[in-house]
């Protein structure tokens, strides 16, 4: 395994870099999009919540690979030239956002109704109450499930290998094909994924503990 690591170090590091970049973009993107759809889902305007629900149900019930392929094949054909990395990252963002929407929605709804009423009763607007009172409490509650989603996201970024996204998995595939040493190659790739996901795991645990105080 060390052999593989040393001999293919630049390729593996480049793959690690692409995986990290794709994951970071998708993490931020899916958190924003997911939160927006969570807000839509709980909206009192019926059609807004219906749209939110449809988005979540459609997106989370289609395989990641299908969503990614749609962006890889259809978008370049009809809309704009995008490369595999971009298509894969967009697919990953959209796919994950549906799960984050459900997680955030559950978090918001688990904050006691009285918190919103207390805020509204002093004249705060809906958005002021959300920003000041509901979101901070909801995010605290959803850190553990959100951590799960983020870890899944990093691992799911291996979807880039299917669309020539130059990520860790893609490089692993090339190295395995060239060296015929499949076992050691994927072992090395697995270790490199751990290097990304373990700190993320611990960071989420740290946040959970830190915010539990208040």
């Amino acid at each position: 395994m060390l052999n593989i690591l040393v001999n293919n170090f630049p390729e593996l590091m480049s793959g690690l870099g692409y995986t990290l970049m794709s994951s970071l973009i998708a993490l931020v993107g899916s958190l924003i999009i997911g939160t927006a759809f969570a807000l839509m889902e709980i909206s009192t305007h019926r059609w807004v919540s219906v749209i939110g629900n449809i988005y979540v149900e459609v997106v989370r019930n289609i395989p990641l690979l299908v969503i990614t392929m749609a962006f890889y094949v259809i978008v370049p054909q009809y809309i704009a030239q995008i490369d595999g990395f971009t298509a894969g990252t967009i697919g990953l963002t959209i796919y994950t956002s549906a799960f984050i929407a459900e997680t955030v929605r559950a978090g918001i709804q688990s904050v006691a109704v009285g918190q919103m009423e207390g805020a509204r009763s002093v004249g705060m607007t809906y958005s002021q109450a959300m920003i000041q009172i509901i979101f901070p409490q909801a995010f605290k509650i959803v850190i553990p499930p959100l951590g799960n989603q983020f870890i899944n996201l990093v691992k799911n970024s291996s979807i880039l290998a299917f669309v020539a996204g130059f990520d860790l998995m893609y490089q692993g595939k090339i190295i395995a094909n060239a060296t015929f040493n499949t076992f050691d190659t994927y072992l090395a790739v697995g270790v490199l994924y751990l290097i990304l996901t373990m700190p993320l795991s611990y960071f989420m645990r740290y946040l959970e503990k830190k915010w539990a105080v208040a």
């Binding site: 006691a112 009285g114 009423e117 509204r120 002093v122 004249g123 000041q132 208040a214």
Partner: protein, 245 residues
């Protein structure tokens, strides 16, 4: 000078007729207590006054705004009409000080230092200055409710609504809360109080409203006379059940 006026107000939850033909006027400086069996619509009536519940028909004028009119901006009403809840509803993610100062600084856009000074004075008034930096989770029920009252007062409201403010409290902490409410009443605040505290209703309130089945059955300005000789049979029955315990 009236602060709150209900004219022929009706309120439904789906098919359930929660408030039936409500007519009630509360003058400025009046302390009105609302009593009645549970499910009689007391809390619903109170919650319509600051728009937490919408009414379906009739007229509901609060501080010169018509709440039955869908175009009325509820936030404008709520700036002037405070609410104290049975379960306090203090912001769990904010300290006591932040709970009190958030409304005035965020909603009224007032100067932070000024609001901070006033908050300290309010904490003195409710006897909890030493809790300024605590989180609500570290307070007892009675302390939470006194902070909730201070939070409402910080908005300098024209009227205060109390929704069973002592019902969730341990018996020994009720007195402190009632004392604070009494002081506010003596200060001339317009108050509408839904309560089971008959002592408060009798000695602090200037008027008593008895509700059952979504209707106002009795509205008495002579509070003593109401307690001694309620006119309505339902009120007689209700009082005898409470007082015989």
């Amino acid at each position: 000078m009236s602060m709150i006026e209900f004219h022929d107000v009706e309120k439904y939850y789906g098919k359930f007729h929660a408030l039936k033909d409500i007519n009630l006027t509360v003058d400025r400086g009046e302390v009105v207590t609302i009593i009645g069996p549970s499910g009689s619509g007391k809390s619903t009536l109170l919650r319509t006054i600051n728009g937490l519940e919408r009414v379906q028909s009739g007229q509901l004028i609060v501080n010169d705004f018509d709440l039955a009119d869908k175009k009325t901006d509820m936030n404008k009403i709520r700036k002037n009409v405070g609410m104290v809840f049975q379960h306090f509803n203090l912001y769990a993610n904010k300290t006591v000080m932040q709970n009190i100062t958030l409304g005035p600084t965020l909603v009224l856009k007032r100067n932070k230092d000024e609001v901070h000074e006033e908050a300290l004075a309010l904490l003195d008034q409710v006897g909890l200055r030493d809790k300024a930096d605590s989180y609500p989770s570290a307070l007892s029920g009675g302390q939470k409710q006194r902070i909730a009252i201070a939070r409402s007062l910080a908005m300098k409201p024209k009227a205060l609504l109390f929704d069973e403010p002592t019902s969730a409290l341990d018996p020994e902490t009720i007195g402190d809360v009632l004392d604070v409410m009494k002081t506010i009443a003596e200060g001339g605040m317009t108050m509408v109080v839904v309560t089971h505290e008959m002592g408060f209703a009798r000695h602090v309130g200037n008027r008593i409203v008895f509700m059952a089945d979504g209707q106002i059955l009795e509205d008495a300005s002579d509070v003593g006379a109401f307690f001694d000789h309620p006119k309505e049979p339902r009120a007689q029955e209700f009082l005898s059940k409470i007082i015989n315990h």
